[in-house]
Amino acid sequence: MEQKRNQKKQAAAPSRTSGKRIVKNPKRLLEHQLNSLNVIALIVCLTAGTVFMLFGKRPTKSEEENRDLTACPQFSISSYLNGTFTSQFSQFFNDTVPMRSTFKGMISDFRGSLGVPYDEGVIIIGNVPDIDNNVNDQTEPSETEPIETTQPATQNATEETNPTETTEVPETTEATTEPEEEEDYDGEIANNILIIKDRGIMLYGGGFSNGQKYAETLNKYKAELGTGVNVYSLVAPTAVSYYLPKKYESYTASEIENINHINSFFDGVTPVDAYSILGEHKKEAIYSRTDHHWQPLGAYYAAQAFAETAGVPFAPLSDYETVTKEGYVGTLYGYTNQKVFKDNPEPFVYYKPKNQYTTTYYNTDMTNERQGNLLINLDNVANSSWYLVFMGGDERITRVQTDCTNGRKLMIIKDSYGNALVPCLTQSFSEIWVADMRYFEPGVIDFVRQHGITDVLFAMNTYSATGGNSKKLQKIMY
């Protein structure tokens, strides 16, 4: 207000000095009034905005984006001098705007009104995908190599030298990208998303040479673990394999070609064919429309394929209690900020096994043992994060001891796609250990030996298997 008064005073100053002349000249009088009106209107807006920014209640968490917002930094001379204070303060000021999610909604509405829908409501988020199914590796050419636009398929992907890592870290045009968000998605969301009607589909870049490395790493695991331990690979396809209309096919690499390519390198590792069974059920809600994960039902079918491969019993869905939560708006909304997701929530359906089992959690370094629920209570979980129902997330080690008496002990090494498999296998294995490849700290080989594990399942989606995440498997081996 003080600002406003001051500005008014300032604005009034020239009129005092030239007041008489103004009265005589109607044009100048009018201009004076119009300028005053303009100044008052804009100063009022600026003042109101400032008061709102300074005294409005600042949120600390964003439910849509499933992250803590930037905290106000502590001032210190050193943090000021090295610039961290000021840059963090700017980030805090911007990140925690009062009524943030309302404004975000308004922004998404505004962006939705910048044009008209194309075709069946197709929106492409991110770069125009640089996919060519004929190219054996979708990695970016290294700087020293000339860029070839469309090379016909080379017969052997292994000929690729020095491939650059394909990275699935969302390197986005979205104005909201901040490091925290990238970490939250942890390399699982693709750069390119195609929205068709109300479904978001991540476009798959592929990565044959990464896939080969992935297969070779698993071979190494198998060689280390020996014949006494079964090693399986379940590379889960994503929605792009089933829901991308044919005419957009050129915008994605083929997941099944990449999966087959991986499988072709296995030596002693047993591949699990989840692709076919999911295809048989694609008319059911096996993938979320608004989230980058599958729905628990998709995981159930994939688990069935695994159980058949591993020769263990598998419970029908009737042996589960079905829980339906309405109003799921998954990660793709936070990532793309597209109104269509917010306006079209979907149900999130998961299945509680009815058999007896106990769940024990550990920190990622195997400390802090505690009992818990395999499926967490979602009552206080934001509707964007219901996929957390499985063990509450990734950053932990989980042990499930079941009433299954076959004596088979399974270890699942996985990305978040693997989480949804766990409840489907409580009736198939006597014990299940779950470790996330991004966070697991003990060496896997020793861990398997120590705990008498009989079966190791590597379960992750195609993005992880052929992307940057796969190299983490080498890190956690010993």
Partner: protein
């Protein structure tokens, strides 16, 4: 700190305005502006202020020196000042580039220095250089008051991304100025207009650009490539002219009247005219200070032109594509000069427009790609030298999804305000109606831009890095 951020609009600016209005004495007002300017510049990286202060102190002394001493001594001081200023830009902006090229050409392995670029160094160094040269040429009186000189160097509206304000433009206003009601009103509206250009138009156009040109472009069709680069041309105009609008608006709020930096460049009829309308303060800097120079005792029109366009190019960044970009323009300007104005005028206007738009748009493509391999791929993709097809779904979808944005952007390249001004001269009633509409539009633009700022990254203006 950048103008298009909530912290600037709703914290820094109000505090600055209150403090400025709270003191009446011009000396204190200047002090307020200096303090806020230094806070503004130090935001994010306080140590860089040392270089700004050093530049201010030395050039203050150089300015006095070139006038106080005559003859050779004066020339020597001018030489030292130029060496220092160009040296500073050289070290902070070009040393890495230079070393890389020396290593590449001679196969040497000198360590490539990794010096973080000083924000705004190209702008404020050019300002102080123009000041010292003007003092030497006795076009301006040197500023004796160090505080006033520091104000000229550090004045935050134009500090980090221009326009390059000549000392002569604001010398009188540093000593004596007043914000009239018209200044305050016009300045606020201009600031809001610039903010809206940046946040509503430029930022959304850039999302399209990044989708099409930001990836590997391996599969981009011909239409997709043209679409991407046309959007980029629009983006860069709104981004940079938006910044200049904000700078000029803020200047006016504090009683300074900077020269215009853009004059609807896309309306130009030829490339020569484009540069009279685009980044005017840079073009006029080179015209006034570089063009008249003789090189190695020789004054040659073509050599001078080459130097001007080489410098214009490299001023934008330490990368070959900028040099190519500068020389590319130089080439067309030379061709137009060769052809002569009369012959140029004889060419039908539509053809001239097609010619200059093509040159400008392809030019911005050259400007965009620092990676020369990608630039080559881009040029291939523009033509039929690729096999990605003519048009794809991606650009059709993007065009539909952004059709209103694109129409608005194209309309806004026309001098709408000039049309309104002309219209308002018809009668007082029209003037009142237009002015009130202007106020309503300004308020809407401010509110909309503010909401959009919630989603803004720290992504700065493109010209921030030059």
């Amino acid at each position: 700190m950048i103008f298009s951020s909530l912290i600037f609009v709703y914290l820094f600016l109000p505090l600055c305005l209150i403090s400025y209005a709270a003191v009446k004495n011009l000396r204190y007002r200047n002090l307020v502006l200096v303090i806020f300017s230094l806070i503004f510049y130090a935001w994010g990286e306080p140590t860089r202020i040392i270089y700004l202060l050093l530049s201010a102190v030395l050039n203050y002394l150089f300015g006095i020196g070139v006038v106080k001493y005559k003859g050779k001594a004066s020339k020597a001081i001018l030489g030292v000042s130029l060496a220092y200023n160009i040296g500073m830009i050289g070290v902070f902006k070009y040393s890495g580039f230079l070393m890389e090229n020396i290593n590449a050409i001679f196969g040497a392995h000198f360590p490539v220095p990794e010096i973080a670029q000083l924000v705004g160094i190209s702008f404020y160094t050019f300002q102080v250089m123009s000041y010292v040269i003007d003092c030497y040429w006795e076009k301006v009186e040197p500023q004796k008051d160090p505080m006033k000189f520091l104000l000229y160097v550090s004045l935050f509206p134009q500090l980090i991304a221009g326009p390059i304000v000549r000392y002569s433009t604001i010398a009188a206003e540093i000593d004596n100025r007043r914000t009239t009601l018209a200044d305050l009103s016009g300045g606020l509206s201009r600031f809001v207009l610039g903010l809206a250009k940046k946040v509503i138009l430029a930022d959304h156009l850039f999302r399209i650009v990044d989708n099409f040109l930001g990836g590997s472009m391996e599969n981009l069709t011909i239409v997709g490539t043209w679409y991407g680069v046309i959007m980029y041309s629009l983006y860069i105009y709104f981004d940079f002219s938006g910044y200049s609008d904000m700078a000029i608006g803020l200047g006016r709020i504090f009683g300074f009247h900077f020269n215009e930096n853009f004059n609807h460049p896309f309306l130009c009829k030829d490339i020569t005219e484009f540069w009279q309308r685009w980044h005017i303060s840079l073009g006029s800097f080179f015209r006034d200070y570089l063009l008249p120079l003789s090189f190695f005792g020789v004054r040659n029109k073509y050599l001078s032109l080459f130097m001007v366009w080489f410098c214009t190019g490299i001023w934008h960044g330490a990368s070959w594509n900028y040099i190519i970009w500068g020389l590319y323009y130089g080439m067309f300007i030379m061709l137009e000069a060769k052809l002569g104005k009369k012959k140029m005028r004889k060419i039908p206007l539509p053809i001239r427009h097609i010619y200059n738009k093509l040159v400008i748009i392809i030019g911005f493509g050259i400007f965009y790609f620092e990676d020369l391999d990608k630039l080559l791929l881009f040029l291939k993709n523009l033509t039929f030298f690729n096999s990605n097809g003519f048009v794809g779904i991606a650009e059709q979808a993007s065009f539909c999804n952004n059709i209103f944005l694109i129409i608005a952007a194209v309309i806004c390249t026309f001098p709408l305000l000039d049309y309104a001004k002309k219209l308002s001269e018809r009668s007082l009633k029209t003037q009142a109606a237009l002015s009130v509409s202007g106020t309503v539009i300004s308020v809407i633009l401010l509110l909309l831009s503010s909401v959009l700022l919630v989603d803004a990254t720290t992504k700065a203006f493109l010209y921030y890095r030059f």
